[in-house]
Subunit: 344 residues, 4 copies
Amino acid sequence: MRVAVLGASGYAGLELLRILLRHPVFEIAAVTSEQRAGQPVGDAFPALRGQLDLAFESADPARLASKLDLAFAALPHAASAPSVAALRRAGVAVADLSADFRLRDPALYREWYGDHPAPGLLAEAVYGLPELHREKVRGAGLVACPGCYPTGALLPLAPFLREGLLETTGIAIDSKSGVSGAGRKLEVGYLFAELDENAHAYKVAAHRHAPEIEQEASALAGSPVRVTFVPHLIPTIRGIVTSIYARPRRPLSAAAARELLSAAYRGERFVRVLPAGETPRLASVRGSNFCDVAAFVDERNGTLVLLSALDNLVKGASGQAVQCANLMRGLPEETGLLEAPLAP
Amino acid sequence: MRVAVLGASGYAGLELLRILLRHPVFEIAAVTSEQRAGQPVGDAFPALRGQLDLAFESADPARLASKLDLAFAALPHAASAPSVAALRRAGVAVADLSADFRLRDPALYREWYGDHPAPGLLAEAVYGLPELHREKVRGAGLVACPGCYPTGALLPLAPFLREGLLETTGIAIDSKSGVSGAGRKLEVGYLFAELDENAHAYKVAAHRHAPEIEQEASALAGSPVRVTFVPHLIPTIRGIVTSIYARPRRPLSAAAARELLSAAYRGERFVRVLPAGETPRLASVRGSNFCDVAAFVDERNGTLVLLSALDNLVKGASGQAVQCANLMRGLPEETGLLEAPLAP
Amino acid sequence: MRVAVLGASGYAGLELLRILLRHPVFEIAAVTSEQRAGQPVGDAFPALRGQLDLAFESADPARLASKLDLAFAALPHAASAPSVAALRRAGVAVADLSADFRLRDPALYREWYGDHPAPGLLAEAVYGLPELHREKVRGAGLVACPGCYPTGALLPLAPFLREGLLETTGIAIDSKSGVSGAGRKLEVGYLFAELDENAHAYKVAAHRHAPEIEQEASALAGSPVRVTFVPHLIPTIRGIVTSIYARPRRPLSAAAARELLSAAYRGERFVRVLPAGETPRLASVRGSNFCDVAAFVDERNGTLVLLSALDNLVKGASGQAVQCANLMRGLPEETGLLEAPLAP
Amino acid sequence: MRVAVLGASGYAGLELLRILLRHPVFEIAAVTSEQRAGQPVGDAFPALRGQLDLAFESADPARLASKLDLAFAALPHAASAPSVAALRRAGVAVADLSADFRLRDPALYREWYGDHPAPGLLAEAVYGLPELHREKVRGAGLVACPGCYPTGALLPLAPFLREGLLETTGIAIDSKSGVSGAGRKLEVGYLFAELDENAHAYKVAAHRHAPEIEQEASALAGSPVRVTFVPHLIPTIRGIVTSIYARPRRPLSAAAARELLSAAYRGERFVRVLPAGETPRLASVRGSNFCDVAAFVDERNGTLVLLSALDNLVKGASGQAVQCANLMRGLPEETGLLEAPLAP
């Protein structure tokens, strides 16, 4: 099957190429980048030198459509929607990595991102977290791949919300992310000299992934959920570890919490529930599509502590997009995604 | 004034030497280490080569006492108390960096550390967080320097607890620490190959600093405080950033929270309250005795978010010990401690 | 085909498992570790949790032999030879990652490592750098996989030595290595707090890989080559960049040097000769079996500067071992080794 | 004495402020930055918040002159010379950290940097490596502070060149530098995601510091010296380790090499000659004005290996500038510079 990567010159695009290069069914037919149009991929990404004999081209969705079975859109928000719309008009399935189709409510999108560029497509879009919405993703025409933070927050929270076990106000979500989540942006704060040996919170309770988490958490709980989401930057390239602090509605033992989590993800290929006492570590998921999760209860005051770790560029972006694309095209979900983590 | 550093071969000891070498009043009269007795300091710590013409000696508190005005004890818990006791018997003032005299209740100490080796000294010991207990530290004979995590948790929490503004159960304290907090211990998890590009929680709701935080927080609040404390290891050498999630008893605006914090630390040399919107960063405190703090309120659900950053080896250990020692010996509190952070 | 990994609890062993898990022909039949015998692999290496349903076993080469087509020995030097000998006696092909069969001269081995434990096998052993010895590796029964430093030094040097272009005394080889090359050893110098933000030379002109480089370089040149090899430790987990300073016997232009290198590696899958002006970077080879090389000439004084970059755990160890094993068992050389580098 | 820092918004400027804040004699009277004019220093550099009650101003050398005893110019090359000229006309002593007055030959400057903006001042300028030119620096009006790489190369080479012990062609200088040497420049290659876990050579035999090294090396040797200088970027913020490969003209023992180095720097405060077997490490000089050096001889082929380590922002830039300024104003050379390295 032939696929294209639109907006392939950022980190999510590069990671898509890395995964697709070894995918046994998807074949990379085109890669686009406005800035780098005409440049061979290996010149832009020396790591891929000799791996992929393609040059970036300027995106022309209509022309591309004819030769594609599916497109991955790794474009910035707002820039993505028009390309996605053109591809959908031409009948091409799209796995969109931008934020454009994640929020179902255009008013909420406006609040956090600005006017929605293609509200007519929202009805069709499926939120692409396969562990929660597998059946909808299967065969969908447009999948909105979740943000990296929501993936790490929702996977451990889902079983508890679904069972109505948690107070729905004041769930605190504390995430620590590597810098590749910010993309290849040239900002002083992302320079090595500024970030190594550094760490800090940012966008405290003001990050765009909070409404996305709340949308899905509310759907799971069946009632509005309000979270306090505080992302932090830590000196790693990849990875997000998340610690979630929530109050159970009724006393919950550590063993019961672990069992609920284990039962929920039994049989899932990409969610690993850790044994008692182990905590999720970035080093155990680097470069892989795994999300490791664990549950603890602070016995002294009843607080539930949920932990997760994932690679923001894989399970938090491009790996998850391929996982969705596999489902969209009727392939086994794990196709091309079973590579072991790079450790150490 | 002549001082000694007992247990000088670990990171807290090395940091004490670094600070004391430039201290205008304290003179390093002796450094002890059982393992390294006889070894010149410069051989053990090449960074200090040519800086300090002393060799480690085996600790003999009684003999040392006669030539000292004050001793810093940077020994492991349980090992510290007997040396401290000997020094106190000989009339030497001691700033103790171990955990031995931090918890006022020997039963609580037993629960977390084992039988207390010198309970008779607990009555005399002052908890050495000068911003909270300055008058007691001034002139004290025995000061228990706080743990690194408690310092970063208590400084931002104190004004809110003192005013009775917070619900006292379920305060979540999420700390991210560099690895020097673990000392120079040889464990696989502290190897560069294991820790770089890694991050994870550890001792979830089971860290020894939790009861220490609760002891001081309860004293501030005037009623028992229960916290859920989750420390994380991140790939930095130094530094702790802490994010605290607490529920105000009555609605609290972001501006009011900031103002309370500012008012509480006006005039303090080592606590910097950041302007609105700024978040504490390790890179702004590295190598210095500052603790940067900030307050935010998640307006959407009322949660108070308190942030702090400090260098665990300075304000979290050796710098604070010198700050206490200055007060104990009647010197201006900031003596030898005004070095600017090493940035970048 | 069934393979075993002997000594699988170190980093080279772990990397072998990571590669073999995706290898389409080799199947992991057994993993051994004396220290970890009985422990499930996923407990020792959480990254592999759920990936490999095997426990470490104590090595029993004779028993293992019956069920193996090939064995990888990732044991320490001296410990490896006896196991290799037992496997060879039982007719099992062995790719040995230790130093035991790299040096052809047992007297040289004695000088650097001690008495050789199985000199009788030296005649059979082939030096497993496929780009130099492909025909001998093909079908060999015992292959000595090169050290990580020699691989990075020999690949760029080989074409120049083979043509007799270089003065053979005083070639300076300056390598900078990540710390995983030292294995999972518990030494203070490998702690994160000691190594991050640090870098230093070690074993100056006294590293065991020097005689190995000289053996192969001399064979290429047809006369004795003497190098000055200085390894450095830098704060990365993986990777070695090497810069080589050599004097051409007659004037050599930069263009001619590049062309010689390009011609030598045309058609090679794993050696990428970079275009003029580009320098090999660890970030372009991380996690992959590539060795990137480049040639420069300092026009002002005629010095030839050769550069290389490789991942010490892949092309410098386990990837190269699999490359050799593929040849040994008649598979296409690149089988299971075409994974793209992990970038960023 | 009142001093100003011109161009204080880069890393060298920030480091000057850090050092000057604790200097007992120099008082910071003004800090300039065109981009940040009007901004309080603490807003630009949060690390200095509360430390320095000044705002950046636009540089007006003539106006500044009246209130200064000395100026530090930390401006880019070519931009520095005109400001320096204005200050000199007004009689102000200047320690210039740019490249503008390092090369004595304007033709050489033109070749590497472009037309010289103030050739008339070259005669007055003194090359500010106090260990080599102390008497000229003392009382000088204009000092050109050396580049970071030349400092680390020249200090270990000097004694050997001065004695005529080395072949003067083909000395290979291999330096590994942290990224702060590039300043606060926004380039993709300096992003954390690009540089962490990475390392590579750059400007191979084409770096501007090569002619500077050759100028001083030739003066020491009394005849033209030609070096091959290859800088590398490694993932550290600060620091340069340099390994130098040179051929002695006549056999030189390791002991003799060490003794020559020791003798040359006996009594120097900032150059530490390490004992036999120890290698200079970034971690031992971080944040300090030390340059650690060591000499080895590869006994097997006679090559001399010289090693050094320094903090590029201190001994490689701002610390050395203060060392020069102390001499220029008649203060003890080490004033304000004895801070111990930050370790770990």
